[in-house]
Point group: C2
Chain length 190, copies 2
DNA sequence: GGGCGAAGTCAACCGTCGATGACTTATGCT
DNA sequence: AGCATAAGTCATCGACGGTTGACTTCGCCC
C-alpha cells in the first residue's frame, strides 16, 4: 500500500493553480507545459484539464488578481511615492500572477486586453482621487513608468535596477510619480 | 510557362528576413510559424531553414540592429528630451526588429540577454557623455521609462498613450529624462 | 545546346503537447 | 461490510510544426 494520500478536490485545484502561477510567471504562456505543472503538484496532467478545462482556462485563473492600490485621497504630492512604491514592490514580488500576465501580454491579445483592464479598472480610478484633470493620461504615463521598471527589474534583470534597494529606487522614482500626477499638463507647441 | 521568375539567393534571404521581422514583431517568437514566414515570401519553408539553419537562427538575424543613439556631448539638460525622443519614436515605429526583441525578451533567456546588451553596449555609453556620476544607474532608469512607454504604446496600446501625439508625449516625458540624467543622486535614508 | 550548380519544391518524419475517455482506487456514508 | 461517488491514473489520439533529404527546375556558361 503506497503512501498515496488523496487530497480534497479544492486542495488539488489550489495546488495546481499555485504551481501554474509560478510556472507562467517564470516562463510565460507558450513555454509552459501542462505536464510540468502537473508534475510540480505530483498529479496526472489530466487533472489540470479536469479542473480548468483548457490551458487557456488555467492561465485565465492564474492571471486573476487585484492590484489593491491604496486610497490616495488626501495624500500630498510629496508623499505619493512613499505611498505607492511599497505597493509596487509587493505586487511584483509577491504575486507571480502579475508577472505571468506581463509575460503573456507581449504575445497574446487576450492577456494584453486583461492588462488594459487593470489600467482602466484599477489604476485610473485610484489616480483620479488625487488628480484634477486628465486622469487617464496621467494614469497611463504613471503606469508606463511602473511597467518599465517591472520589465527592467524583474524580467530583464538589468543589473543596476535588479540590485538597487527598494529605498533607492523609491527615491529615484518619487519625483517622476509626482510629475505625472501633479504637474500641470505641459504646453504642446503646434 | 508559369510566371515563376527565380530570384537571386541574397534577394530571397533578404525577403525572408523582412517577413520574419514583421511576423516576430507582431506576434513574438513562439507564435510565429516558419510556414507563415515562407508563405509571406511565396517560398517553401525549407528555404528558411536553408538560409538560417534553425528558427532560432532566423530570429537572431531578425533581432539584430543598432539603436544609433545621437551623440549627447554638449547637449544641455533642457534639450535632452527633444534630442532623444525623436530617436525613440524612430526606433520603435520603423524597426520591427526592436519590437520582436521586446516581445521575445519576456519569454526567452537568449532574447533577454540580447536586450541587456543594448543597455550596456549602447544606452549606457551614450548616457555617459552627459552624465557625471552613476551612469549605469541613470541609463537603466532612463531605459526603464523608455521601455515602459514602448510596452504601453506599441504592445499593449493603452489608449491615451497609443493616441497621444509625439509632441505631447515628448512634453510629458522630457522632465523625466532630465531628472534621471541630470538631477543629483537622491539621498537615501537608512 | 548540353550540362553543371544554384534555387527551389515536395513529401514525409518525428517529437511534442494539449486533450480525451475509459478505467481504477480511495473515501465516506449507512 | 458494501456501495456510490469523487479523486486520480493510464494509454492514446491527433494536430501541429520544425526539420530533413531526395528530387526538380531554372539560368548560365562553354
Amino acid at each position: 500500500m503506497p503512501e498515496t494520500r488523496r487530497r480534497s478536490a479544492p486542495a488539488t485545484r489550489a495546488a495546481i493553480l499555485e504551481a501554474a502561477r509560478t510556472r507562467f510567471g517564470a516562463h510565460g504562456f507558450d513555454r509552459v507545459r501542462l505536464r510540468d505543472v502537473a508534475a510540480d503538484v505530483g498529479v496526472d496532467p489530466a487533472m489540470v484539464i479536469r479542473y480548468f478545462g483548457t490551458k487557456e482556462g488555467l492561465f485565465a485563473a492564474a492571471a486573476e488578481f487585484e492590484l489593491n492600490l491604496p486610497d490616495l485621497t488626501g495624500v500630498t504630492a510629496d508623499e505619493l511615492g512613499h505611498v505607492l512604491m511599497p505597493r509596487f514592490f509587493g505586487v511584483w514580488e509577491d504575486d507571480a500572477g502579475f508577472l505571468s500576465l506581463l509575460r503573456a501580454a507581449t504575445t497574446s491579445e487576450a492577456a494584453a486586453a486583461k492588462m488594459l483592464e487593470l489600467f482602466t479598472g484599477q489604476v485610473t480610478p485610484a489616480v483620479a482621487a488625487v488628480v484634477t484633470d486628465h486622469a487617464p493620461e496621467r494614469a497611463a504615463l504613471l503606469g508606463s513608468q511602473i511597467l518599465g521598471l517591472a520589465v527592467s527589474r524583474y524580467v530583464l534583470k538589468v543589473p543596476p535596477l535588479a540590485h538597487m534597494s527598494r529605498a533607492e529606487l523609491e527615491a529615484w522614482v518619487t519625483p517622476v510619480i509626482r510629475h505625472y500626477l501633479t504637474d500641470p499638463r505641459p504646453v504642446v507647441s503646434g
